[in-house]
């Protein structure tokens, strides 16, 4: 078993590295070999790709955490309403302000405020969930409340969309389609910092997640402090899923499915294996999607959300069809 896992990890690692390099070659800007060396030196052009790489594994880790804590194979960053919280934040800034400012001053709002709004939005929903989970102990009830929060926020977003001007609407839609193209170097720093915090928290909670596999009663009887670990896990999920959504729009589906692929590949439920596994699988899937979304030669970018869905869903359907069941 151990040898098999090491081999898998090595292969996945090589895949990620090769895709990473390949992505730089084909990437939206045409690099020469010298450029690539330049890229690694001053890391200006690699930003987008670095971002691409780290986006997806954060979504997959947060999906993994949610599936274990809710003991539900359908849970993902979406279920707690974290992604929708971010959408609401962005919608409030982009669409909510539209009646008060002219189209010319739109650039004034800028990317920075979009990102901050998204982070604030997801944190607000997360805070709400934490507050609820202090009062309500039943995890299934929290799951349902999360779904309700998500629906409520999308409803508000729809209303905002209805009343906003076309330019603003387009800006919002472009954000929500998950464009990975424009990341400045300063933003990348935040992304990396948040990612590191999120990953450290998730690795620290891996042992607890293993205990939570059996359910909260067993976890409690094994000495797990449920409220405390639940908060840590929610915060780490919120940080990771929230910032991903902030920078790249609500990237769907991946958070649910990468943990399942990881479980099937490594044949394990051990989070010390599944967390790094999901990181590597998530990164490769996202890099591949990015490659395809850039349509080499055509010079135009397809929204990456659609790409992950189009290439990912058939694979997933095939896996589930073969295995006939999906489980935690």
């Amino acid at each position: 078993m151990k040898i098999r896992n090491s081999v898998l990890f090595t292969i996945l690692f090589i895949v990620v590295i090769s895709l990473f390099i390949f992505d730089i070659f084909i990437g939206s800007v045409n690099y020469s070999i010298e450029d690539i060396i330049q890229v690694f030196i001053n890391s200006d052009g690699a930003d987008g790709i670095v971002k691409t790489t780290i986006i997806d594994f954060r979504l997959s880790i947060s999906g993994l955490q949610m599936q274990t804590i809710f003991r539900n194979p359908l849970a993902g960053p979406y279920v707690l309403g974290i992604s929708s919280g971010a959408s609401l934040g962005v919608a409030l800034v982009v669409l909510g302000l539209s009646p008060f400012i002219t189209e010319n001053s739109f650039s004034f709002i800028g990317n920075t405020s979009i990102v901050s709004a998204a982070i604030l939005g997801s944190c607000a929903v997360l805070f709400l969930i934490l507050l609820v989970s202090l009062r309500i102990k039943d995890i299934m009830t929290i799951l349902i409340l999360g779904i309700l929060f998500a629906s409520a926020t999308s409803a508000i977003v729809s209303i905002l969309q209805y009343f906003s001007k076309e330019t603003f609407l387009k800006a919002y839609v472009v954000w929500s389609m998950g464009s990975l193209a424009d990341v400045t170097k300063s933003k990348l720093i935040y992304l990396i910092i948040f990612t590191i915090i999120g990953i450290v928290l998730s690795i620290l909670s891996a042992k607890t997640l293993n205990a939570l596999l059996l359910g909260e009663i067993y976890a409690k009887s094994m000495g797990v402090n449920i409220s405390f670990s639940r908060s840590i896990i929610f915060i780490s999920t919120g940080i990771m899923a929230g910032t991903v959504t902030a920078f790249c729009g609500p990237i769907g589906f991946i958070g649910i499915i990468i943990p399942h692929i990881s479980r099937m590949l490594f044949k394990s439920s051990n989070h010390f294996i599944l967390i790094p596994g999901s990181i590597l699988i998530g990164a490769s899937v996202m890099l591949l999607s990015d490659l395809i979304s850039q349509l080499p030669g055509s010079g135009s970018n397809i929204p990456i959300n659609s790409v992950t869905a189009i290439i990912g869903i058939p694979i997933v359907i095939w896996i589930i069809y073969r295995r006939k069941k999906i489980n935690i």
């Binding site: 891996a206 293993n210 205990a211 359910g215 094994m222 479980r263 489980n327």
Partner: protein, 345 residues
Amino acid sequence: MNSGNDFILTISELEIGYFNQKKISSVFKNISLSVREGELIALIGRNGVGKSTLLKTIARINRFVNGEIQINNRPINQYTLKEWAKKISFVSTDPVYISNLTVRELVSLGRHPYTNWMFSLSEKDRNIINKSINTVRINDLEFKNIDEISDGERQRALIARTLAQNTDIIILDEPTAYLDLPNRFEIIYLLHELSKNKQKTIIFSSHDLNLAISLADKIWLMEGASIFEGAPEDLVLNGTFEHIFDNSLINFDKITGQIKLIRESIDEIYVSGSGNAYIWTKKAVERLNFNISKNSNSLIKVYITEKQKKLIWELEINGKKFVYNNIYELNLHLNQIKIFKNEQC
């Protein structure tokens, strides 16, 4: 032992219940019980009486309303979470189905309170895990996934997990709930062995009165508003079981320790025979609500005889004789008579 009392667990004036915001819904009051080390205790009671709540309260999974629970003469709330996890382990009724979790990994989870944040298992941890797997005899299943094994085997694996957790007290909430008869016996017998050979103090809830009576050291019987405590035999002799279980449909048989259906007899039947054949024929006849009579003048008579090493049932009704080779056919005939009589009434 310390402070002159050798109880590992004492419960005094306990009130259990549920907390709903500011309202408390009480489930059971005035629970006072005690347990000595190495005892096997069966908690018996009807559905909904509060068995599960009591067990979860003792395991500190639920809070309690009033009273006190002490382990080794120390109130349970004074234990830290980690100390507690080394004192009591718990097996719940919730079924555990996880694909991709092997039996060995499940048992290893018992080492949770003893390992660091990376869950690195020392040589000692590994030895304890191996021993636990050996004790419940699931060595051949070690590397199987827990959703590939039977319910009985999974229950054994869960018990092995509590052994790996290495606690003095093990609490199990209906460990035989999903099991067939042989498995139920094996699980309770395993608990019996653990309490006798490993000095584990074990409390389990169950609906298997028979097994509980024959294997438990003590029974806690929850009924109505009171909880009765005592050796199973004492509860039989002082009439507690009879008192609890007798009603219009069933009664408690003091000799066999079994619960029996009360049958309204419609007719008397005389059965002559010996040994096992007699006992089982009697059972079959009783199933049809006939009363066994010692009077050979009864209208219906059954003679069990053996011809050429084969059993033969001779049925005599009002002087007419019928011969059958098995109980099934005998009963078919008797059933006809019963239906006929019922129609006449």
